[in-house]
Every structure is written in C-alpha cells, then in structure tokens.
C-alpha cells in the first residue's frame, strides 16, 4: 500500500520524500488543479526539479490536472497534460472526461488516475472509466463507508486509492457548487473552495465574525477557536437551532483503518493538503510511514499509537479528527 503525500511546493515535495512518502502529488501553477491558491504549486522549472528529486530516490510523482476544462480554454488543460508527461510524471490525476480522452489517446503509456473530483462511487462508474479511458487507478470520494469500499475493492476491475488523512470534504467531490453559489467560484471551475479573496474577518460586539462574500459563516466567542470560513463548516440557523448544520471544523483521520484497507487491497492511501506547509507534510508523512510499516510487519496486532493520534490531531482543523463517512454513524 503506497503512501501518497501532497506537495504545494518544492520544499514540501522534498520533505514528503525524505519522510517516507512512496509518491507525491502536485499541481501546476494555474487553474488546472483543485488547489489553485496564490503562492502555491509548480511552474515548469520547479516541476522538472521536483520530478528529478522524486525519481532520483526511486519514488513516484503524480500530477493533478483535476479541475474541469473551461469551454474557451481546453488547450490549457491539454498543455498541462503535455507538460506533466514531458517531465516524466508517473501518473496523471484527471477528472474531466475530455481531458482523460486526450491523455488516453495521446499518451496511452502514461498512467491515468481518475481524480476524486470525478465522483466515482460505484462499480458501473468505475467500468465507465476503465472501458473508455483504460484508467490505471480510481481515487474514491470521501462519501463511502468502509463496507462500501470493501465491496468495491472486491469487484473493481481497477485498483483503488482512498483518502486517509486531511481536511474533510463532506460533499461528494466534484459535485458541490456551494462555493460558486456564494462567491461565483468553485472547485470545479477555478480550483478553489471558499476562496480567500472573499473572506472577511470582523470584530463586533457579538464576537469575532467570519464572512464569505458578505454571508456570515460563523461568529466566535472569546473562548472559541476561530477557523477558516470554509462555507460548509460554519454555524447556521435551522428553524431556530444554531449549529454546524453541515459539518464541524474537523479533519479525516483513518489510522485505525490501515489493516482493513491493506487487507482489502487498496493500492494507495492519500494524504490531503497541498495547501499546507512543509512542516505539516513532514509530521503527517512520518506518522503514516511508521503506522503503515508497523502494520506491514504484523497486521494482526496492529494498534494505533496514542502519540500518532496526538500528532495528527494537532495538525487538524479544530484539533479534532473523525473517520468521516467510513464510519456509518457519521453519515
């Protein structure tokens, strides 16, 4: 089972490899990837350097080209594929059917992974990607329970990758327009959810307020930790009840599922967080490396180390973690 770590820049990429990642995934410096943030990602020069660093150490590089190609800019997505292939990427992570079609026809020998943004949640959808684009891997959205993942893993004609740790999208990825409804920009179209340029913080008599494009997302009392106003993680009013109507600020953590995921034959566990610092990447990579190695030695008596959980909780939103949809009760 591969440990696949995120890298938003060259230092994070090196850190990931140095701390035990089997592979890293990165994005280009434009809107062709789903973490299109200022100061993040790889230009052509950095891309080549990153590829060399990874390959010299016998590891793998995946390039995420996982937003949906704009009607008047398809060439940009095709060029992203060309660039990634030119520097020798080991895999392309793609969501758009048109881009997948292009990659499959032009570069049949370069691995194609179906991005989580393609919302592939069942066997027939997996077959669709296998039949049409001969894909090598499908990344499952964070909406399935462990039982559902097991069932898919048993029958899938394509190896599966799952999300293991990091910020939690509570909606089926690629099927969420909440951000564009509020701001005009969504993960699918611009590669960002709840973009920072629409965020406003304001001290008021009622407390510290966070707003997204003027809509009040949350309001914090002095003893509360304020978090980034991702719009699905604020507190809202449903018939007089004020609560986290969609989700609390929390992160996914599936350390305890490692033996199960391994037994199912999941080929890769993915760490979320290309937007996070090298320090985050270092801690997460190191912890997951230890956990996976210990499980490989002896899956039967694998136990999650308390120290691992503490390290990961400290890196999580609201300092809390959840099994998310893997655990049916969360649903």
């Amino acid at each position: 089972m591969e440990l696949l770590c995120p890298a938003g820049n060259l230092p994070a990429l090196k850190t990931a490899i140095d701390n035990g990642a089997d592979a890293v995934y990165i994005g280009l410096k434009d809107d062709t990837n789903a973490r299109h943030f200022a100061g993040l990602n790889f230009n052509d020069g950095k891309l080549a350097k990153g590829a060399d660093y990874v390959h010299e150490r016998g590891k793998k590089l995946h390039v995420a080209i996982n937003t949906f190609a704009h009607a008047n800019g398809e060439e940009r997505w095709k060029k992203a594929v060309d660039n990634a292939v030119a520097i020798g990427t080991d895999a392309l992570i793609i969501a758009d059917l048109g881009v997948l079609d292009y990659a499959a026809n032009k570069y049949p020998d370069v691995e194609r992974h179906v991005s989580v943004q393609a919302s592939t949640t069942n066997l027939e959808a997996i077959k669709f990607f296998k039949n049409n684009f001969d894909v090598n891997r499908v990344v499952l959205p964070r909406v399935l329970s462990v039982q559902q993942v097991r069932q898919l893993a048993k029958n899938s004609p394509v190896p599966l990758e799952v999300f293991a740790f990091g910020s939690l999208c509570i909606m089926a990825e690629g099927r969420c327009y909440l951000s564009s409804y509020m701001t005009g920009e969504s993960p699918n179209t611009v590669g960002a959810c709840s973009p920072a340029k629409y965020v406003r913080w304001q001290e008021t008599e009622q407390g510290l307020e966070s707003r997204l494009n003027d809509v009040l997302i949350d309001r914090y009392q002095e003893d509360e930790n304020a978090g980034y106003p991702t719009l699905c993680k604020g507190r809202f009013d449903v018939d007089g009840d004020v609560y986290h109507a969609l989700e609390e600020p929390t992160s996914l953590n599936t350390l305890e599922l490692i033996p199960e995921l391994m037994a199912m034959g999941i080929v890769s566990v993915k760490i979320e967080g290309r937007q996070r610092s090298p320090a985050y990447v270092e801690q997460v990579a190191k912890t997951w490396r230890m956990a996976i190695d210990r499980c490989k030695q002896s899956a039967g008596d694998f136990q999650v180390d308390g120290a691992w959980m503490k390290t990961l909780a400290n890196l999580s939103e609201g300092s809390q973690t959840t099994l998310g949809a893997y655990h049916r009760k969360w649903q």
């Binding site: 949906f68 190609a69 704009h70 009607a71 008047n72 398809e74 969501a95 758009d96 059917l97 048109g98 881009v99 079609d101 393609a118 919302s119 592939t120 949640t121 069942n122 066997l123 027939e124 959808a125 669709f128 039949n131 049409n132 964070r142 909406v143 399935l144 329970s145 559902q148 069932q151 509570i170 909606m171 089926a172 969420c176 327009y177 909440l178 564009s180 409804y181 509020m182 005009g184 969504s186 699918n188 179209t189 009040l216 997302i217 309001r219 809202f236 009013d237 449903v238 018939d239 009840d241 004020v242 109507a245 969609l246 989700e247 998310g324 949809a325 049916r328 009760k329 969360w330 649903q331």
Partner: protein, 293 residues
Amino acid sequence: MKFSLGPNLFFWPKTDVEQFYQQAKTSSADIIYLGETVCSKRRELRAKDWLGLGRELAQDTNKQIVMSTMTLLESPAEIVTLKKLCDNGDLLVEANDLSAVQIMHDLAMPFVAGPAINCYNLSTLKVLIKQGMTRWLMPVELSGDWLKTILAQAVDENIRDKFECEVFSWGYLPLAYSARCFTARSEDRAKDDCQYCCINYPQGRKMNSREGEQVFVLNGIQTMSAYQYNLINEVAQLNDMGVDILRISADSEKAFTQLDKFKTQLSTPTKHTLATDKECNGFWHQIAGMSVA
C-alpha cells in the same frame, strides 16, 4: 422551444406525488421528467411505481416522459434499481451519474445527460455523444457565456444536430450531494436512523445565516439553493442561442404556473423584477449564484 417539468427533488407522500402528476398531465409542459434522484431510502414510490406512473403519463398525454435516475449511487442494491429503470423498454432515461451512462451504453439506448454529470466542455460533450447521449443539461453552475461558447463550437464541428440542449431555468438549484443526511442531522439523528424525516419537509429545511439571510435548503443528502433560480428574463436570449428546452423544476404546484409564465414570456416578452430575497440568477451571469444580476 420546448418546456419541461424537471423531477421533483423533494420527498412527498405517495398520494401527493400522484396528485401532482395528475395535474402535470394537463399542464403546459411538453416533457415530464420523474423519478427519485436524491436518496434511495425514499420509497413512497419504488422503481416499479415510478415506471408505472411514467407509463400512465405517456399513455394519457402527448408529452415525452423521461425517467430520472439517482445522482449519488453507493451500494450494489442501488445499482440494481438503477438498471431496472434504465432497462425499462420504452421510456427515455435521464442519467445523473456515469453509472447510468455506462448502463445505457451497454443497452445501446439513447439517454439524457442530467445536471449532475460534469460536462464542462466540448470534448466531454463528444465523449457523451459517443456513449449515446441525445440531450444535454449543463451543470447548473455554468453561465450563459459558457454555454454559448460550447454551442458555437458544436456548430463549428458539425455536431450540433447530435444533441438537444436543455437549461435548468426555474426552481431551487441542486447544489451538492453528501454521504451525510443533513435533514436527519437537523433532527439529531444519523442517516441509518433517519425515520424518513424528509417527508415532513415538502420544501426541505431552510438553512439561514445567523443574521437571518437564507443560504441553503437542506434536502436529505442534497443541499439546494435557498433562492429559486429564475431565468425568465433570459428566455429570449436562450431561444436565440438555440437552446431547445427550458426546465422548470417540480418544486411545488407553483411549477405549473411557472411553465405558463415561461411560455408566455417566449411569445410576449415582459421585463420581470426578481425578488432578491427569494430569487436568483447569478450563475447564468457568471457571478455568485445566489445574487441577481
């Protein structure tokens, strides 16, 4: 230009559904979509009931009847039901997930690509046409300019006659799908113990900001816009662009009035003022979806 009645996205008691479609028979809709697209636990009508209702509508009217299918399919049982709906023998099918596209392709049957299929560009459109798509409804977050670009490219590539183009034009917008049921959560219950509570909210549950601004509607595992999308002022533009069908979502009986209004708007254009605290058209104008241009 034709007008369609989209599938009802809420969960209503069987008698209400039947009554609604009795009215739909005499409505001005040219096309009626029906079926459960949100949650497989909603079983007031099962697949065979929906198909029965669809066939009854086809028999009693001259309207085209289309079976709409689920969007987020996670279990083998859901796929079994989906296959039943797809392989129905006579009625057209709206695919809302690539699983349905795969099944329709295996059956060598034409299909409609619904709004939850991520088709953002001409290359994707071509992939879907190759699979058997004969009608395309673009993702609701896309704008008029975006659509215009794709339609012009389709003309250039000589494939515009391969598909009809339908646009979601009125109603609460389906915005997101989750593993979690937000309606059950709003009643402090897990999805496995939802007690089918969606049935108590025939218009979903409004989720407001703490300042009272309406933000979203909770509809089971689906999150919708709190404002109703309304492209009434864009009808002429849609027609000029060559859009073939305008969809009025079956939010409530008001949809029937809207069908009439939209039809009238085509023949006798009038400037309508949208209520900014109830309606929106931002997506069409490539600004925040909840706003009015």
